[in-house]
């Protein structure tokens, strides 16, 4: 039975329980009002709200892709339009019936998923930028609308499709159907976004690079999210067309895509509820105002968008929430238990090679930053990489952890050649990289950051939040010694510089790496923090048998902890030897004091 340690700040159980109890009357109120509203409201309002409910579903998908995953998407309207046209075209061509309805729904899902996958493949690849993904999402609705325009009578061209027979339902039933669909989508979205999987999506938004270096294939996650939201948006469009019995190119267009973004931005991104509030209020208001004040209404929307972005980036819901937080006591964070994971036996103390580098070079045109770098490092070795600024130390670290970086040469991590593989694959061979500037997930709590780091071992649940966090002993040791264990529920952005560094180290250790790359881990740390770091590193090398490669400027620090030192100078290995050899070498003194002999000595 593994030892269980509990670090809860408060006793959250009664609070958690009452939060659950809250939900029941809330659900009753929502379902009740959806059921009763059509009896109270006038027909015009009911009509508008039915459409608004379907639009709100599409707005939720925008919120997931943008608010949670961080990709500003103009393209969800295209998927909505695919649903609209799948229904309109099939009902126009084959008439209305049950098999036609199923066929149309199937077509809508399949086409939306296909287009979503294609868009995702175009938008997300190792090294793609959020701006590029945005631009691609902009192209999708534009292309789709042009296809619709050129489709002749099949798509109805610019006038769209009307006059097809569709589902014959009472207005009240439509209202209840649409309202309950919206509520269901919202509940499912909220559950997923608050689960461990939702946290992972936020981690992608906060820091895509850190995610890749935790062995997470970020592109794949983003593509999956896009495909799923594309399907939901297309079904919303399907419902919209089934009710309205009209398909227009505007339903798929770029302008509608931006309108969806405006709804989410005004309501509050990254909240789901904000998307619904924004969608319903804009749809209802524009139904009443766009008739009487067409241009002024658009003007108001434009001004409101600018004002919200400048003054309340988290939207109306966020602004209200901030006011509320000042009055209500802050919510107690869920308790998290750290549990040491049963680590695989590291085997007898041998001297296996953990990292092998041969003839590694990095060139920019005719400029060589690294040239002919060759060395090996064994397990339990604490290897320090020193050299003056511009010697290529950080470039070397990058070439070791990302297969696409180096120009020439061979790198193997724990016996696996890294070829041209992206960081997430190299990490899976057993590499952990800690960046120079602390790289964590700013809006996630300490415990959530650590959980994201375990993604490759413990697949996150899509519905629940686990209360137990299994970590390797080395990571737990860092968490406890640094004092992070008392602050597991705190957001990472509130941590001090030193604690962020410790958190990132713990996250990297949670990967259970064989090779650990550290780029100036002690920069900016206090004397005491630095000493603690030295102790942690030496014990990682001796007890956990990690192969550590450390980039460091501070020669005293290096001398104290290293088992071996490599001196890099002008992109080449100038010296590779024991601490004593390097410290006593005249070459090192020359390189560091910049005497002329250094340049000659560096050339082999």
């Amino acid at each position: 039975m593994p030892e269980v340690r509990q670090f809860s700040q408060l006793a959250p159980a009664p609070l958690g329980l009452s939060a659950k109890w809250w939900m029941v009357p809330l659900a009753v109120v929502i379902v009740g009002s959806i059921a009763l509203a059509p009896l109270v409201l006038d027909t015009y309002m009911v009509n508008i709200l039915i459409r608004a409910f379907f639009v709100a579903i599409a707005a939720i998908t925008v919120d997931i892709v943008w608010g949670y995953c961080g990709t500003l998407t103009f393209g969800q309207s295209a998927f909505f339009g695919i649903g609209v046209y799948a229904l309109a075209i099939i009902f126009t061509e084959y008439g209305f019936g049950s098999w036609q309805a199923l066929f149309a729904m199937g077509t809508s899902v399949v086409v939306a998923a296909g287009v979503g996958a294609l868009t995702g493949w175009l938008s997300f690849y190792p090294g793609s930028t959020p701006l590029y993904a945005s631009i691609v999402s902009l192209v999708v609705p534009i292309v789709l609308v042009q296809i619709l325009y050129s489709g002749g009578t099949f798509t109805g061209s610019s006038s769209g499709l009307v006059g097809f027979e569709t589902f014959d339902l009472e207005l009240e039933s439509w209202f209840r159907l649409a309202g309950l669909s919206l509520a269901a989508v919202a509940v499912v979205a909220l559950i997923i976004m608050r689960s461990d999987t939702g946290r992972l999506l936020k981690a992608l938004r906060d820091n895509d690079e850190r995610c890749s270096y935790l062995g997470i294939n970020t592109s794949r996650y983003r593509i999956i999210v896009l495909v799923l939201t594309a399907i939901i948006a297309s079904l919303a469009g399907f419902g919209y067309a089934a009710f309205g019995a009209v398909a227009a190119p505007e339903n798929a267009g770029f302008t509608f895509g931006t309108r969806l973004i405006i709804m989410v931005a005004l309501g509050g991104r990254g909240t789901i509820i904000g998307a619904i509030v924004g969608a319903l209020s804009i749809e209802v208001a524009s139904a009443y105002l766009s008739g009487s004040l067409p241009y002024v209404w658009e003007l108001i929307i434009g001004i409101a968008l600018i004002a919200v972005i400048l003054a309340f980036p988290d939207g109306l819901l966020g602004a209200v929430g901030r006011l509320g937080r000042g009055i209500l006591p802050s919510k107690a964070s869920a308790t998290t238990q750290l549990r040491p994971v049963a680590t695989a036996d590291t085997g007898p103390a041998g001297s296996e090679v953990a990292m092998k580098v041969t003839g590694l070079g990095k060139h920019f045109g005719s400029l060589s930053v690294l040239d002919g770098v060759t060395f090996e490092a064994k397990r339990s070795e604490l290897l320090s990489l020193v050299g003056p600024n511009g010697a290529g130390k950080t470039t070397l670290i990058r070439c070791l952890s990302d297969g696409r970086e180096r120009s020439t040469g061979f790198v193997a991590i724990a016996g696996h050649a890294i070829d041209r593989l992206p960081p997430d694959r190299v990490v899976q061979f057993g590499l952990g990289r800690k960046f120079q500037a602390a790289s964590v997930f700013e809006t996630l709590t300490v415990a959530e950051c650590l959980r994201v780091a375990r993604t490759h071992r413990a697949r996150p649940s899509p519905v629940s939040t686990s209360t137990v966090l299994e970590l390797p002993a080395a990571a737990i040791a860092v968490v406890e010694r640094s004092g992070l264990s008392d602050r597991l529920g705190e957001e990472a952005r509130n941590l001090s510089h030193g604690l962020k560094q410790a958190l990132e180290l713990a996250m990297v250790l949670a990967l259970e790496p064989e090779v650990l790359l550290l780029d100036e881990p002690t920069a900016g740390l206090t004397r005491a923090e630095r000493q603690a770091f030295a102790d942690i590193l030496t014990s990682l090398a001796s007890r956990d048998r990690l192969c550590i490669l450390l980039v460091e400027h501070d020669l005293d620090f290096v001398r104290e902890i290293s088992s071996r030192i490599i001196v890099l100078h002008q992109g080449k290995i100038a010296l590779d030897g024991s601490v004593q050899e390097v410290v006593d070498s005249s070459l090192v003194r020359e390189i560091y004091t910049g005497q002329q002999a250094a340049a000659c000595g560096a050339e082999p």
Partner: protein, 278 residues
């Protein structure tokens, strides 16, 4: 065949003029100005007003440029300045501004389509082909824009500061370059260029409150593909603009309209740095 060749060159010239303003804003600020289309529209309406007042064409162009530059400076000071750390939000805010400008223009001028007489009419005879004289003038205009730009960037103190900010903003600030002033001026010039291009395209197209929008996407794509340099912008305008003309002429105009967007997206997928360093 010669007509197609001329179409390619003149289309590329138009695309280059419209994209160049977007390019310097993107180069200096690393943000995409979604209000660019609105500034093109502003320039077109300034031309309309100028033409109605009976101003000579040579005065109408500066009028359009100055109107656009003033709008741009105000935009930078009121909106964009606060959003440099949030580039995706800057896209949204400038899109909101685009809506606002479009609606104001509609409220003042109405939403109907209007026309402006071209200063140079008729055709010229080039190697046996009659070709619109005004379109030929566009080639000259593009060359002038490129030359003025290059001189500004390479020959003046402002240009030096701008290049410094493009390369390394922190360092430039540390060396005493007032980067917020550079940004203000850059944004004003970029918007002025948008308005100028609006003025130049008015005789070729009608004037309406949403006229800038169709150009916006192509301009974006060209800027993204060009990777930030004027030279590669010219190359990409010529290549993708040329492809657009060829597809429109020989295949289908609707597909032609999509050529730039689709090709650019694919080029960027394969080569994220676009045509830069190609």
């Amino acid at each position: 065949m010669l007509t197609v060749a001329l179409d390619i060159v003149t289309t590329a010239a138009l695309l280059f003029i419209i994209s160049s303003g977007l390019l310097i804003v993107f180069g200096v600020m690393k943000i995409i100005n979604f209000a660019h289309a609105a500034f093109v529209t502003v320039g077109a309406y300034a031309t309309l007003v100028g033409a109605r007042l009976g101003l000579p064409w040579i005065l109408v162009l500066p009028l359009a440029f100055v109107t656009g530059a003033i709008c741009g400076a105000l935009t930078e000071a009121i909106i964009v300045r606060w959003l440099y750390r949030r580039p995706l939000d800057a896209i949204l805010a400038t899109w909101g501004l685009g809506i606002v400008i479009g609606q104001i223009v509609t409220l003042i001028f109405g939403r109907e389509v209007q026309f402006v007489q071209a200063p140079i009419t008729g055709t010229v005879d080039l190697l046996g082909v009659d070709y619109s004289a005004y379109r030929i003038v566009m080639i000259g205009a593009a060359v002038i824009v490129a030359l003025v730009f290059t001189t500004l960037l390479n020959g003046t103190r402002l240009g030096l500061s701008t290049r410094a900010v493009i390369m390394n903003e922190m360092l430039a600030q540390g060396l005493g370059v007032d980067s917020s002033r550079v940004r203000l001026i850059t944004f004003a010039i970029g918007s002025g260029l948008a308005a100028l291009s609006g003025a130049l395209i008015t005789p070729l197209s009608s004037v309406d409150p949403n006229m800038g929008l169709p150009w916006l996407i192509s301009a974006f794509m060209l800027v993204m593909v060009s990777g930030g340099s004027l030279m590669t912008l010219a190359v990409s305008s010529l290549m993708l603009g040329g492809l657009q003309v060829i597809v429109s002429t020989f295949v289908n105009p609707i597909l032609g309209g999509l050529t730039i967007a689709i090709c650019a997206a694919i080029v960027l997928r394969i080569r994220p740095e676009g045509f830069a360093r190609a």
